[in-house]
């Protein structure tokens, strides 16, 4: 994957598992940063739309709303549609 794309939410760097009784856990100190703002969400959605379908996020939403993807079996449409709440 390209390295020049911005990342959100960071990566795990704090492994601590006492709470779950495991030797390691995914409990992370990044949880507070893992909810995107509306602006970040729109940017993320737009980037995913361009990567998955080669169109802007705004264009995808317009086509989604007017039914252009009705009965689509394109898995990239599915993958992006699941992310719509990031954009609105």
């Amino acid at each position: 994957m390209p390295d020049d794309e911005p990342k959100y939410g960071g990566r795990l760097n704090d492994i601590d598992d006492e709470e779950w009784g495991l030797t390691m856990s995914a409990k992370t100190d990044h949880c507070d940063a893992a909810e995107l703002t509306r602006e970040e969400g729109e940017e993320f959605f737009d980037r995913r739309a361009r990567r998955l379908l080669g169109i802007s996020g705004e264009e995808f939403l317009r086509r989604w709303d007017d039914g252009s993807f009705e009965d689509s079996d394109d898995p990239n449409v599915t993958a992006l549609a699941i992310l719509i709440p990031f954009a609105r």
Partner: protein, 189 residues
């Protein structure tokens, strides 16, 4: 998974999923605005870049799901829970070619509402985008598949225990498990 308030319910939902992905990637799961606390609204959860590299030669894991935080009708620590509204888990190669998808998306823009898989088989009898029916597939099953079947090197020694524990939690709290029980959208009129 329940919690005493919306945020606790979100943490109970998110934590096992984050543990699951930590078996193969250090990337975090992130949620859409309001996704940690706003009830009765559909939220999305995704890996921070949509996809994460899980091998040195470019194999990628894609995770996306929708959920809502709802009131359960119970009180105390069981007052709220997160309920999954759709999911899309995928494995892609280094050229972004899809290898396996596990989907359930009953949100009205597809004509296939049951949980299913796409395998992109080259078998001429199987259309490339055939919807192969499945039961409800958990993220734990997908992570276990990439480790056990695709040979992805786990990032933590206790991955088997983590996935087993979280799979157990998933089975304990899920409201449906197969196509006969899966929620369906309202008929299109």
């Amino acid at each position: 998974m329940p919690g005493g308030n919306p945020s606790a319910a979100y943490e109970a939902f998110h934590h096992p999923l984050q543990q699951d992905v930590s078996c193969v990637t250090p990337d975090v799961l992130m949620t859409s605005t309001g996704g940690r606390s706003t009830i009765d609204r559909i939220h999305s959860l995704s890996l921070a870049d949509g996809r994460a590299l899980i091998t040195g030669d470019g194999l990628q894991l894609e995770v996306g799901l929708q959920y809502s935080i709802i009131k359960t009708g119970d009180t105390g620590k069981m007052a709220y829970r997160c309920t999954t509204k759709s999911y899309a888990y995928s494995i892609l190669d280094g050229d972004d070619k899809r290898l396996y998808d596990w989907h359930w998306h009953p949100f009205g823009k597809s004509n296939f509402y049951e949980p299913h898989a796409h395998t992109y088989s080259t078998d001429p009898l199987l259309p490339p985008r055939a919807h192969i029916p499945t039961g409800r597939v958990s993220l734990e099953q997908v992570i276990r598949f990439v480790i056990d079947q695709l040979g992805v090197e786990p990032l933590r020694n206790d991955w088997d225990s983590v996935l087993s524990l979280n799979e157990g939690l998933f089975e304990l709290h899920r409201s449906w498990r197969d196509a006969t029980e899966a929620p369906r959208p309202a008929p299109r009129g």
